[in-house]
């Protein structure tokens, strides 16, 4: 298994690369599926929003992220498509 690189402040990464407790600012949403993309936007994943990885499910997927004062669960494969800047 590839060891996860620990990202530092200001690094560019995808949301799925963050470890538990790390925060990041969304830079770009690369989601292709139109309905899914719209839903992610509706849920508040807009450019510039702050997201914290709150926990990861015991089996490694999905992730529980915190944004805009609430918690949202998403699968890793969808978080791979969200570019962020680590804070």
């Amino acid at each position: 298994m590839v060891k996860k690189i620990k990202h530092k402040k200001n690094d560019l990464a995808v949301l799925a690369d963050l470890s538990i407790g790390q925060k990041a600012k969304v830079v770009k949403l690369n989601t292709i599926d139109k309905a899914l993309r719209r839903r992610l936007l509706d849920m508040g994943i807009t450019e510039g929003v702050q997201i914290k990885v709150k926990r990861i499910a015991p089996l490694g997927d999905p992730y529980d992220i915190e944004l805009r004062g609430y918690e949202l669960c998403l699968r890793k494969k969808d978080l791979m498509l969200i570019d962020v800047e680590v804070m």
């Binding site: 309905a35 899914l36 926990r55 089996l59 999905p62 529980d64 609430y70 494969k77 969808d78």
Partner: protein, 660 residues
């Protein structure tokens, strides 16, 4: 007047609806409890209120969300009552910004204002009211505060008829205004925005000039217009938030503390197993069967008493037989299971209202993803241990079509409460001290069957791409015990009603078919009755896992289609009938069912558990799958699997019986 109750999922809509109408709708603490609209009347008024499925946005992602959007568009709604979660204002307001763009007045109820206060969230209501240009009323649906004020405002119509302030940047605003002028429909602003977003569902609204306008604006922005609009909305909300809401941030909530344990990497799954084990130990296991024996004593003595009373009154033989052997033996046998079902319903209701369901979906999603299902499939599965019908309907919250269809087809495999009597009866008689383990093994069996069938279906029927999973984790809530007990009471009452109507009719039908021959001769020996003739035609189907050609068992299993509890009712009638005098329900001592061995008993349970569900559930599958063809597919698939597994189980266990 028509009031539509609109809010995010899990914002407390149904609780408020119940308070406003005095009605009791189903509530729970997982997103998507309300999957169909429900109508009621606001107390002390003649206003109709409609409880609609929760939505995050007016752009639907699942079918149940589309119900809400379509309702607002197609019905003449006079007022939108928008309920917001005060502890989660930022995301809640996003929907409000969309509702305010419709040509319908909006009244905002800020729910959970007490919890917000506890958490140190201070909201400047006046400022918020100014900015949204709408009337705002803080309430707590759970503590029932502010609800009276709300009813008064609705009744007197003393809410602001909002003239929503424009929230977009200058260019966008200008373009929207021009677009609106081109439009002739209701909800101009909302449609103008949809046209800008290039949402094809609204293409029909395009006028000559509007297409060009949209194109030129898109060129200017060089960005996805959908994203531009969402950004602008959230930018406006952030601006309001900074001014109107004060909160001490790094506050560790009760939910956080609980999740540290419940969602802990190592503890999450053991805790889940322990909880589920406790639920089924209490409902299906030794504790549940104890309650059955307890009630059974009374029902049996009631049967004997009735027989004596009718004899003393000089009732004819056939009418005595109808009441005692038909009605009491069949429908009365159902009463035995009421305490057991009440326990099961109470525990499920508790799980639903605490917020634990969403968390199960979260940490087990990975397992279900592997076999082509979603973590959200677990919600129907758990509800399915109560009843398949609401469970099948709750699959609507799953976005992906394949996952949804598979979940619908697999939900009936979960032993529902009506199958509990079958398990209790067989496990209790044949496995005595081990009955707890045997009934637990059947639930375990169900899990394995679901996972392997899902895997097979994924390979054969629905080869598709990996889907997505979007689920909000709600805060934990202490259940409202009043609502919970009412919910359990309603379900128990529905069960009694079923026993008093469908089971009663079916029991009389069985008694009739059993008492008469095809030449309508009363009192023929059971094996010459109509029922026996019908059973004999099909008994070969069950032979491979019963080891016996039994018309009695065959017709009983067939009646599972009417309702699963009817299997037991029918066996009770048939057994009681051949005994001459019906004293209690000594089913397995009767000549009809004495052939059962532990192996065939287990196989018979397996067959009844996994074969086609009752007509009610088949109807629900038909509705949710969309076509009759798919429904038949599901029914044959389920019955086929049940037959194969029952046969394997019997043949395997039978070897031991022969050897030992």
């Amino acid at each position: 007047m028509k009031v539509a109750l609109i809010g995010n999922q899990n914002s407390g809509k149904t609780t408020l609806f119940n308070l406003l109408t005095g009605n009791n709708q189903k509530i729970g603490n997982w997103p998507g409890v309300t999957i169909e609209k429900k109508e009621g009347r606001i107390r002390s008024t003649d206003f109709d209120i409609i409880d609609l499925p929760g939505v995050y946005s007016l752009t639907p992602y699942t079918i149940e969300e589309a119900i809400t959007r379509n309702y607002l568009f197609e019905e003449d709604v006079d007022l939108i009552l928008n309920i917001l979660d005060s502890t989660n204002l930022e995301r809640s307001l996003y929907l409000t910004t969309q509702l305010l763009e419709l040509d319908i007045p909006v009244l905002v109820a800020l729910n959970m204002s007490d919890i917000a206060l506890q958490r140190g969230i201070k909201i400047d209501y006046k400022y918020l009211e100014e900015k949204l240009d709408t009337t705002l009323i803080p309430i707590s649906a759970l503590k029932k505060t502010g609800v009276f004020d709300l009813i008064q405002v609705i009744k007197q119509g003393s809410y602001r008829k909002n003239n929503y302030e424009h929230i977009y940047d200058h260019d966008l605003e200008k373009c929207l205004n021009t677009l609106e002028k081109e439009l002739t429909h209701k909800h101009k602003r909302y449609i103008a925005i949809k046209l800008l977003e290039e949402d094809h569902a609204y293409d029909e609204y395009h006028q000559n000039g509007s297409k060009n306008l949209v194109n030129s604006l898109c060129e200017n922005y060089q960005r996805d217009m959908e994203q531009v609009i969402v950004d602008e909305r959230y930018r406006y909300i952030e601006f309001i938030r900074d001014e109107a809401i004060q909160s001490n941030k790094d506050h560790m909530t009760v939910t956080d503390k609980l999740d540290r344990i419940i969602l802990n990497k190592y503890l999450a799954i053991p805790i889940f197993v322990l909880i589920m084990f406790t639920v089924y130990y209490l409902a299906a296991g030794p504790f549940g069967s104890m309650t059955v024996d307890f009630v059974d004593k009374y029902v049996s003595s009631f049967g004997v008493w009735m027989f004596d009373t009718l004899t003393n009154l000089g009732a004819s033989e056939w009418s005595r037989s109808l009441v005692v052997d038909g009605i009491i033996a069949g429908a009365g046998a159902m009463l035995n299971f009421i305490p057991q079902l009440a326990i099961l319903f109470l525990l499920i209701s508790f799980l639903e209202s605490t917020g634990y369901m969403s968390r199960i979906a979260f940490f087990l999603d990975r397992v279900f993803q592997k076999v082509g299902l979603s973590g959200k499939s677990l919600i129907p599965f758990i509800i399915g241990s109560g009843c398949s019908v609401p469970a099948i309907m709750s699959a609507r919250t799953i976005h992906d079509e394949t996952e949804k269809k598979m979940t619908i087809m697999l939900t009936p495999f979960v032993p529902c409460s009506a199958k509990l009597p079958i398990i209790t009866l067989f496990a209790g008689y044949f496995f005595g001290d081990y009955s707890g383990i045997v009934s637990a093994s059947l639930y375990f069996f169900a899990v394995i069957v679901i996972i392997t069938s899902a895997f097979i279906m994924k390979q054969l029927l629905f080869r598709g791409k990996a889907s997505s999973f979007i689920l909000e984790l709600p805060n934990y809530k202490l259940p409202h015990f009043g609502f919970m007990f009412k919910d359990v009471g309603d379900k128990v009452f529905a069960f009694i009603k079923q026993a008093g109507s469908i089971i009663l009719l079916a029991s009389i039908g069985v008694w009739f078919l059993l008492s008469f021959s095809f030449s309508l001769e009363y009192g023929v020996p059971a094996d010459q009755s109509m029922l026996a003739q019908i059973g004999n035609v099909f008994s070969w189907v069950l032979y491979p896992f019963l080891g016996e050609l039994s018309w009695e068992a065959t017709v009983s299993a067939m009646q599972g289609l009417v309702a699963k509890e009817q299997v037991v009712a029918s066996m009770a009638i048939i057994a009681g009938y051949s005994e001459e005098v019906s004293d209690g329900i000594f089913i397995f001592n009767s000549q009809a069912f004495s052939f059962f061995t532990p192996a065939s008993a287990y196989a018979f349970m397996v067959f009844n558990l996994f074969s086609a569900p009752c007509f009610g559930a088949i109807g629900a599958m038909r509705r949710e799958l969309g076509t009759t063809k798919r429904m038949w597919k599901a029914v044959f698939f389920q019955t086929g699997i049940a037959w194969v597994i029952a046969t394997i189980v019997y043949q395997f266990l039978h070897i031991f019986e022969v050897v030992l």
